[in-house]
C-alpha cells in the first residue's frame, strides 16, 4: 500500500505525482491498466475532473479505482460543473471512502470543451473552494451546520508561473496560500529561469506549502504550437518548438520525453522545486520512460 501523500510530502525531499486520466466511457479496464503501471512509481496519482471541459468518467470514480489498487489518489475538483452543495456532498463521500487529497481548481471554460452549449456553474472560484475544504475540515459545512463525522483533507492548489502579466496571478496565488494549502501543482513549466523567479517570490509568501513543478509531455512541434494557441495557461518557448521541429520524423514523442526528463533532472538537481507533477495527457503509458529519462 502506498504511504499517505501527506506523509510523502513531509518526508520525501523530491515528490513525484502524475495523472491518471479518466476515459470517455464506462469501461474502467484501460484506467486500471494505467493505475497498475503507475501507482508504485509515483507518490500520488492525480485524477482530472472533466479535463479541458471534455465530459469523461468522473474524477471521484477513478479515485476509488486507485484506492482499490492500493494507489494514493488526488481528487481534482473544478468549480465549473458543480455548485457549492454538490461539491460539499462529493467531498463528504470522497473522504468516507478514504480519498483525502484534493486539488482545488477553477476549471477550464466550457468553450474549450466538447459540450460548448452547457451552462457553466462557477458558483465558487478556486480560492473560495480552498476555504470551503478548510471549513469542512473544521467540522462544519458552508452554512455553518455541524457535520456528523468530520473530514481532514490534504489540500492542493495550482499556479501559473509563466503567466503574462504575472502580478494579477500572484494576487490570486497569495489568497490561496493565505487560505492554507499543503501542496501546489503548477501549470506546465518549460522556462526554468522563469520558474526560479516564481519560486523566489513564492518562498517569500509561504514556507509551508510544497511546490511541484508541472511537466507537460510534448509530442511534436505542431502539437506544441497548437497548445500555445489553444490550451489555456500553457506557453511553450520557441526554442523548444524548434528543437522538436528538428527531431527527425516520427521521433517527436521520444524527443518530448527527453525534454521532460531533462527538465525534471534540472529541477531536482538545482532543488528549484519540492517535486514535479507529470502530465502526460493521454499518454500515461510513457510516464515510466519519462521517469527513467529523469533518473528517478
Amino acid at each position: 500500500m502506498a504511504i499517505h501523500f501527506r506523509e510523502a510530502l513531509k518526508t520525501k525531499d523530491f515528490t513525484v505525482t502524475t495523472e491518471a486520466g479518466p476515459v470517455k466511457g464506462a469501461s474502467t479496464e484501460k484506467m486500471q491498466g494505467h493505475i497498475e503501471l503507475l501507482k508504485d512509481r509515483v507518490d500520488a496519482l492525480n485524477v482530472t475532473d472533466n479535463q479541458s471541459s471534455v465530459m469523461r468518467y468522473p474524477s471521484l470514480g477513478t479515485c476509488l479505482l486507485v484506492k482499490e489498487h492500493g494507489g494514493e489518489p488526488i481528487l481534482q475538483i473544478t468549480c465549473r460543473d458543480r455548485n457549492r452543495l454538490a461539491i460539499q456532498a462529493d467531498l463528504l463521500f470522497a473522504y468516507s471512502r478514504g480519498v483525502d487529497n484534493v486539488l482545488c481548481l477553477t476549471g477550464d471554460s466550457i468553450d474549450v470543451g466538447d459540450h460548448k452549449e452547457a451552462k457553466p456553474v462557477f458558483d465558487l472560484d478556486s480560492a473560495q473552494l480552498i476555504h470551503l475544504v478548510h471549513t469542512l475540515n473544521s467540522g462544519k459545512d458552508m452554512a455553518g451546520n455541524e457535520l456528523d463525522g468530520g473530514v481532514d483533507f490534504c489540500i492542493g492548489a495550482s499556479a501559473t508561473p509563466s503567466a503574462d502579466p504575472i502580478e494579477p496571478q500572484l494576487v490570486k496565488f497569495q489568497k490561496k496560500l493565505d487560505a492554507g494549502v499543503d501542496f501546489i501543482q503548477t501549470q506546465a513549466v518549460y522556462d526554468l529561469e522563469e520558474l526560479k523567479r516564481f519560486m523566489e517570490r513564492t518562498r517569500k509568501m509561504d514556507e509551508k506549502a510544497k511546490i511541484l513543478a508541472g511537466i507537460v509531455l510534448l509530442v511534436g512541434a505542431k502539437m506544441a504550437a497548437f497548445m500555445n494557441e489553444n490550451v489555456p495557461g500553457i506557453f511553450v518557448p520557441q526554442y523548444l518548438i524548434d528543437e522538436l521541429a528538428q527531431a527527425p520524423k516520427g521521433t517527436g514523442l521520444s524527443k518530448g520525453i527527453e525534454i521532460a526528463g531533462r527538465l525534471i533532472r534540472q529541477i531536482r538537481e538545482e532543488r528549484i522545486c519540492d517535486g514535479v507533477h507529470i502530465m502526460a495527457i493521454g499518454r500515461e503509458e510513457r510516464v515510466p520512460e519519462i521517469l527513467e529519462a529523469a533518473g528517478l
Binding site: 468553450d111 465558487l124 476555504h131 458552508m142 502579466p165 494579477p168 493565505d178 489555456p232
Partner: protein, 220 residues
C-alpha cells in the same frame, strides 16, 4: 442600454410559415439606438420578407408600425390596437420585454420575436456594442475599479484571474478580449487601491435577485 441583434431570416420565416397577414412592429427606444429594431430596420426586414415570399410565390402582406417604447402597455395599445385586428400574427422587433408586453396585451394573436436580446451594454465604437453589466443585483463595482468581473470575466470569478490567461493579459476563451482581472489589477494599481483586490471575498450571493426579479418602489 439593452442591446439586441436581428435573428437570421431563415428562423423568422420558419416562425411565420402559414401566416398571410402579419403586423411588423419596431420600437423607438433601445433597439433603435443599437440599430436592431428601429423604424429603419422595420423597413429593411419588411422588404426582405416581401422579397422572400414573392420569390416563393406565396403572398405575405405586412402592416408596419413602430411603438415609442414597446415595454409600455399604454404606448403599445395606442399604436397597435387597430392594426392588430387586421392581421393573423405579430412579429415584434422589440427586445424580449417588448415581445412579451405585446403578447400580454393581445393574447389572442401569436407574437414572434424578430430579435435576439443579447445583453446590457454600451457602444464601444460606432455600430459596435459590448456587454458591461450582468444584472446580478448585488453590485460590487466599488471595489473592482469600476470593472464588473461578473460579466467581463468569462467565468465570473471573484478573487482574481484563472490560470488560463493568455499572453498579454488576454482572456482564456478569446485572444481578442482582455482578461477582466488584468484590467481590474491595472486600474486599482493606478488608483493605489490594490489592497481591495488582495482582500479575499466570500462566495457571492447569487440569489440577491430572486429570479424573475421584481422591484416595488417604496411609494408604489
Amino acid at each position: 442600454m439593452i442591446i439586441a441583434e436581428r435573428k437570421p431570416l431563415e428562423e423568422i420565416k420558419s416562425m411565420l410559415s402559414g401566416y398571410k397577414k402579419i403586423l411588423l412592429v419596431g420600437c423607438r427606444t433601445c433597439v433603435t439606438i443599437c440599430w436592431a429594431g428601429g423604424e429603419k430596420e422595420v423597413g429593411i426586414l419588411s422588404s426582405q420578407l416581401k422579397l422572400a415570399s414573392s420569390g416563393e410565390g406565396n403572398e405575405l402582406s405586412i402592416l408596419e408600425a413602430t411603438v415609442e417604447r414597446q415595454c409600455e402597455k399604454e404606448m403599445v395599445i395606442e399604436e397597435l390596437r387597430d392594426k392588430v385586428q387586421e392581421v393573423e400574427a405579430i412579429l415584434s422587433m422589440g427586445c424580449g420585454v417588448g415581445v412579451q408586453t405585446i403578447a400580454e396585451i393581445f393574447e389572442e394573436k401569436p407574437v414572434f420575436p424578430a430579435l435576439n436580446t443579447t445583453f446590457i451594454g454600451m457602444p464601444e465604437a460606432e455600430g459596435v456594442w459590448v456587454e458591461k453589466c450582468g444584472t446580478c443585483g448585488d453590485c460590487m463595482l466599488y471595489w473592482t475599479g469600476g470593472i464588473c468581473p461578473v460579466v467581463r470575466c468569462a467565468k465570473g470569478l471573484l478573487n482574481g484571474p484563472c490560470g488560463g490567461t493568455r499572453k498579454g493579459g488576454k482572456c482564456e476563451i478569446d485572444p481578442e478580449k482582455d482578461c477582466a482581472w488584468v484590467l481590474i489589477y491595472r486600474r486599482l494599481e493606478k488608483q493605489g487601491r490594490l489592497d481591495l483586490m488582495r482582500k479575499y471575498y466570500e462566495p457571492k450571493n447569487y440569489r440577491a435577485v430572486k429570479r424573475p426579479g421584481r422591484v416595488e418602489a417604496a411609494t408604489a
